[in-house]
């Protein structure tokens, strides 16, 4: 089956119905393995045991940004190609991205208190991440404000593309400004600066989080397609009665 065949919502529903239970099972197993690896990982020589918070913080930060990137691609799909699943993807992804961004900020604060002596500083990385959360909340509010899904999709698509400016700011904030937040240590030119005993469980946990994101997104997209069907039927019912 070609990827473009999934553009048909009915076909997407059939594929999602089959995929979600299997992917959910694999995600559960991967999480069990990732948590086991995270728990047996040694303490960091500087951070001590609080490095275990990084096994949650880094994947959450990654997914918060990945999700907005995906929404930006979907926004192009809505504005340029009017792809039937583009705005479904964007709408379904927003609450998931918001949740992971929130988790990133919470775990970052809980790591910051013992390591920096404070839960929060108006540091460039932290502030740009907070802006990302506010952008997610803005998108969710906009979806709820405009009743017609196609009109809402266009407005949200524009906001999403404007908000995408925040992604490189988050990524390069530690290079552009003098921040309290540490510099890039996982994906960088010249290789990671993290010891393999910590990097390996971190990457396994990131894979588990990413797979969870895929399952949640598929499930949320399925729900959104069903919601639109319910809306269509209610409109048919109302039109017939009037």
């Amino acid at each position: 089956m070609a990827l473009s065949d999934l553009a048909n919502p009915s076909r997407f529903l059939r594929v999602a119905d089959r995929l979600i239970p299997w992917l959910g099972g694999v995600t559960l197993l991967l999480f069990a393995f990732a948590i086991d690896q995270a728990m047996i990982a040694p303490d960091d020589y500087q951070q001590g045991a609080t490095v275990k918070i990084m096994f949650l913080h880094v994947p959450s930060a990654w997914l918060g940004m990945l999700c907005w990137g995906l929404m930006s691609v979907a926004a192009l799909g809505t504005l340029v190609w009017r792809h039937p699943l583009a705005d479904v993807t964007a709408k379904a992804a927003a609450p998931i991205g918001a949740a992971f961004t929130l988790l990133c900020l919470i775990t970052g604060s809980l790591w910051g208190r013992p390591e920096w002596g404070t839960y929060w500083v108006w540091d460039a990385r932290l502030t740009s991440e907070l802006i990302l959360l506010l952008l997610y909340l803005g998108v969710i509010a906009l979806w709820r404000t405009v009743e017609d899904p196609s009109r809402a999709a266009r407005a949200v698509a524009i906001l999403t593309l404007v908000g995408a400016i925040d992604l490189p700011i988050i990524k390069f904030s530690v290079d552009w400004w003098n921040t309290l937040h540490q510099g890039e240590s996982v994906f960088r030119l010249g290789g990671s600066t993290i010891d393999p005993t910590i990097l390996t469980p971190l990457l396994i946990m990131t894979a588990a989080f990413t797979l969870l994101f895929v399952v949640l997104l598929l499930a949320a997209m399925r729900n959104e397609i069903l919601r639109r069907r319910v809306r269509t039927l209610h409109l048919m019912q109302a039109n017939a009665a009037s």
């Binding site: 609080t50 949650l56 949740a99 992971f100 988790l103 919470i106 949640l216 319910v230 009665a241």
Partner: protein, 72 residues
């Protein structure tokens, strides 16, 4: 071992937050799915379907109109 227990509250709070946030997401998609399925089933039980040519003969919109007339 001292290092491991030194900031255990912060580590436990982080994992608890992750359980709550991920649990909320799973509950949201599961409950939403059940709700949408239930509403679709209720509408289909009333004879309202998306199909232009449903199994019962007349197109769905015609049957809905007939139902509305009967109710009036």
């Amino acid at each position: 071992m001292e290092e491991t227990t030194a900031h255990i509250d912060f580590i436990a709070a982080s994992y608890a937050a992750a359980v709550i946030v991920i649990g909320a997401l799973i509950a949201w998609v599961t409950l939403d799915y059940r709700g949408q399925r239930r509403m679709l089933a209720e509408l289909e039980a009333q004879g309202i379907t998306r199909r232009s040519e449903p199994a019962h003969g007349a197109p769905a919109i015609e049957r809905v109109k007939e139902q509305a007339k009967e109710q009036a």
